[in-house]
């Protein structure tokens, strides 16, 4: 409500966690490309913390024991190099998807002050330069993230926003393709496949907003197709990524 034209104005409310979720996401999107806003946010956040630190109150003595007991059983989120096989899938998520997960977990300024924000900031600025639409989907307040491994290598994440009726595909370590072939994305919708855009044969790290509307699609798929793409999949599905309803 009452959207003002100058997004810089939001910085104070942002720092106080006083923006509603959609405006908070929009402001974070703005922060990604605004160095002076980031400096101001850091400065004002320091002042806000002083407001919060002014009063102290001793928690009951047994709270310390409860917390220390709990951490003995709570697994730390750790994207470090040493991890169990179960964790590896998560660690191999494209960095941006991991960032978004961290954003969802921490929320707002705390996320912005965290390491994951760096990647998102770079990616978001990059995305803005290429197409603002990608950043829009990635920062949508209702964005969901689904990840998958591809047959023959590579990792994929689909970020979908039912609100924006769009989704984005992010892949890392996609194997390069030989010959005149490309990757093609598909929306699986009511039992048939809708072409949703191509990814170059170079593979590696790729991200794009899918062509067309999300609509009633229940999954996003990827195949290898002849250069120029196909109207229907002509090879095996490399990944079938189901979307939350």
């Amino acid at each position: 409500m009452n959207r003002t034209d100058d997004p810089h104005l939001d910085v104070g409310a942002y720092v106080l966690h006083a923006l509603p979720a959609d405006e908070e996401a929009a402001f974070e999107n703005h922060l990604a490309g605004c160095t002076s806003c980031r400096l101001e946010a850091e400065q004002l956040s320091g002042a806000a913390v002083r407001l919060g630190a002014a009063e102290t109150s001793a928690p009951p003595a047994d709270l310390r024991r409860r917390v220390l007991d709990r951490i003995g059983t709570v697994r730390q989120d750790r994207p470090g190099p040493v991890a169990s096989r179960r964790r590896r899938e998560r660690r191999l998520w494209p960095a941006l998807a991991a960032s978004l997960a961290a954003a969802a977990a921490l929320g707002g300024v705390a996320w912005w002050q965290s390491s994951e924000a760096d990647t998102a900031r770079e990616q978001s600025a990059l995305a803005r330069a290429e197409t603002g639409r990608l950043a829009d989907v990635l920062t949508a307040p209702d964005a969901t993230i689904t990840t998958s491994k591809l047959e023959y290598g590579g990792n994929a994440a689909v970020v979908a926003s039912r609100g924006q009726d769009r989704s984005a595909f992010i892949a890392s370590q996609l194997p390069p393709l030989a010959g005149d072939r490309v990757y093609e994305l598909w929306y699986a919708d009511s039992g048939w496949y809708r072409p949703a855009g191509l990814l170059p044969a170079t593979g590696g790290r790729q991200s794009r907003v899918l062509d067309g509307r999300l609509g009633g699609a229940t999954a996003v798929c990827i195949t290898v197709e002849p250069a120029g793409g196909s109207p229907r999949p002509t090879t095996d599905i490399l990944a079938f990524i189901s979307l939350p309803a």
């Binding site: 009452n2 407001l51 630190a53 002014a54 951490i71 989120d77 750790r78 994207p79 961290a102």
Partner: protein
């Protein structure tokens, strides 16, 4: 707490410029906690639990809920410690920002009849800063912060206090004060900036 009070280390071997020895020690504890060091985490708890609890009490005005939030925040600090980046700010700021976020989340999820409480809250806030800043018993940090708050013009102080301590969104603040939402946003920003300047100058 001020610059040049000897408590500050000016970027020694472990510290960062403008960060006190206590802050640097806490940064190191949290960094070690991120590597699974439970003892280091206990140090983080001991240093910050009282402040987190104080903040949660202030926002929630309910000790039982504040205890729950304090516990949740501390466990979350443990779980997500690897996300902490010392170069972006002190560990203390990171933890307190998270604590404020969680307290606000809680107050919004349980808010019933908050509109009715608002008027009372307004009056209480007005009373507290003018009187508390004058009290002798309060801690130095509290006195500095409240003195700076009391120095703000009322129209800058109220939106700040309602948003931070009551967990209101700027739109709710606007409704409570019958002011345009854009004006409230701009006053929150201006108020925070003045507060920052006052704390830097006077602390």
């Amino acid at each position: 707490m001020g610059r040049g009070t000897g408590a500050r280390t000016e970027g020694d071997a472990h510290g960062r410029p403008g960060r006190s020895a206590d802050d640097s020690r806490l940064d190191q504890l949290l960094t070690r906690a991120a590597d699974g060091d439970e003892q280091a985490f206990a140090g983080v708890y001991d240093a910050l639990a009282q402040t987190v609890m104080g903040l949660a009490c202030r926002v929630l005005r309910d000790r039982a809920q504040a205890e729950e939030v304090t516990q949740d925040v501390m466990v979350e600090v443990w779980r997500t410690a690897h996300l902490f980046r010392p170069e972006r700010g002190a560990a203390r700021n990171w933890v307190l920002t998270l604590a404020h976020r969680r307290a606000v989340d809680r107050v919004r999820s349980t808010a019933t009849g908050r509109a009715r409480e608002l008027r009372a809250a307004l009056l209480e806030q007005e009373r507290s800063f003018d009187t508390v800043a004058e009290e002798v018993e309060v801690r130095e940090e509290q006195r500095v912060v409240f003195r700076c708050l009391a120095q703000l013009a009322r129209e800058l102080r109220l939106p700040l206090v309602l948003a931070y301590y009551e967990g209101l969104t700027y739109a709710e603040v606007a409704a409570a004060l019958s002011a345009p939402a854009g004006t409230v946003k701009s006053r929150i920003r201006q108020g925070l900036r003045r507060l920052h300047e006052c704390l830097e100058a006077g602390s």
